[in-house]
């Protein structure tokens, strides 16, 4: 699903998306944090292919998921270890939510990346269990 908006409507769309995102996070994160103890989320307006976000390095991270407002935006989620900086449990698709888990006890960071030049609102969320 593509969403090309005129510039004059983009600000309104952004504000609406931001509100939805903030509300979603307000609902999502307490539950994640309560169950996980550790949680991280990067709430962004993703504007170019290659734009990325990620958590700090830690051994606790286990789940990483990219939540988009709509399906149709191709994104990648993965974990990057702190020794080889290799990628692990990588998933790439254009579904509304793109999730992955990696059970390793290695020190790693969660990494989310947009693979589309289309603009969209999305959240990169990470949790420990």
């Amino acid at each position: 699903m593509s969403h090309h908006l005129e510039p004059s409507r983009r600000a309104d769309a952004f504000r609406r998306a931001l509100l939805v995102g903030v509300l979603a996070l307000a609902l999502l994160l307490p539950g994640v944090a309560a169950g996980a103890g550790y949680a991280y989320a990067q709430d962004w307006y993703w504007t170019w292919s290659g734009k990325s976000a990620g958590s700090s390095f830690s051994s606790v991270w286990k789940h990483n998921w990219f939540i988009k407002k709509y399906p149709g935006y191709e994104t990648t989620v993965t974990f990057i270890d702190n020794t080889s900086y290799g990628w692990h449990a990588t998933v790439r698709n254009d579904w509304q939510t793109t999730p992955t888990t990696w059970n390793s006890s290695a020190v790693k960071k969660a990494h989310c990346r947009s693979n589309t030049s289309l603009e969209f609102f999305g959240t990169c969320a990470v949790a420990s269990n």
């Binding site: 990588t90 254009d94 579904w95 999730p99």
Partner: protein, 200 residues
């Protein structure tokens, strides 16, 4: 009630019935796998990564496969606990590690004939990538699925009775530098219904 009012009420009632009929006709039905009876093979592993976010009782195993090293994995279709989304999960049956995707339950396929998700280990440099696999689910209209490799060659993919599939890229192909660039879905006549780039 006057005659004009009666006519107005009848008109509104007819319009409402017509709108409901159109909405029913155009609404997307759940994937057939979710409707069939569940069996023991449909149970999600107890250590499945996102188990607490899923309605485990809704899960259906729609495909199974092995990676080159022998690790057994399965593809599950399951609802989230709130019923808002349907998820397709590539699941390691030993570790419970999962990856895949979720779409709104009321428009799972949207306008598409096939949904696909790419997974792999290693990278980001292409030379270190291994265990490349594609999982997916097709609509009932799809009769066959192929994976299009860089260079244009197509490899057939086995569709299960649930119209799920899982394709593991042969290590020999990986070593030759071939890449799975798209998944193509065709109907019984061979007409292309959908072509989904993998992003690889």
């Amino acid at each position: 009630m006057t005659k004009p009012r009666i006519l107005l009420v009848i008109t509104i009632a007819i319009a409402a019935i017509a709108a409901a009929a159109v909405a029913y006709a155009t609404s997307e039905r759940s994937p057939e796998a979710l409707v069939r009876p569940r069996g023991a093979q449909d149970e999600l592993p107890a250590n499945a990564g996102f188990l607490r976010h899923l309605d485990a009782g809704s899960a259906r195993r729609v495909a199974s496969f092995r990676l080159a090293g022998g690790r057994e994995r399965a593809v599950y279709l399951a609802k989230t606990r709130d019923g808002e989304q349907l998820c397709l999960w590539d699941t390691d049956l030993a570790t419970g590690e999962q990856g895949g995707g979720c779409n709104p339950a009321e428009a799972f396929f949207g306008e598409r004939s096939v949904l696909v998700s790419l997974g792999y280990e290693g990278g980001p440099s292409r030379s270190s990538i291994r265990d490349v696999r594609i999982i997916g689910l097709a609509t009932p209209a799809v009769a066959s699925v192929t994976v299009e490799l860089s260079g244009g060659e197509e490899r057939p993919v086995k569709l299960t009775r649930d119209h799920g599939f899982a394709w593991v890229m042969p290590e020999a192909d990986v070593r030759q530098g071939l890449e799975p660039v798209a998944v193509i879905a065709r109907d019984e006549s061979g007409r292309v219904l959908d072509r989904r780039p993998t992003g690889f």
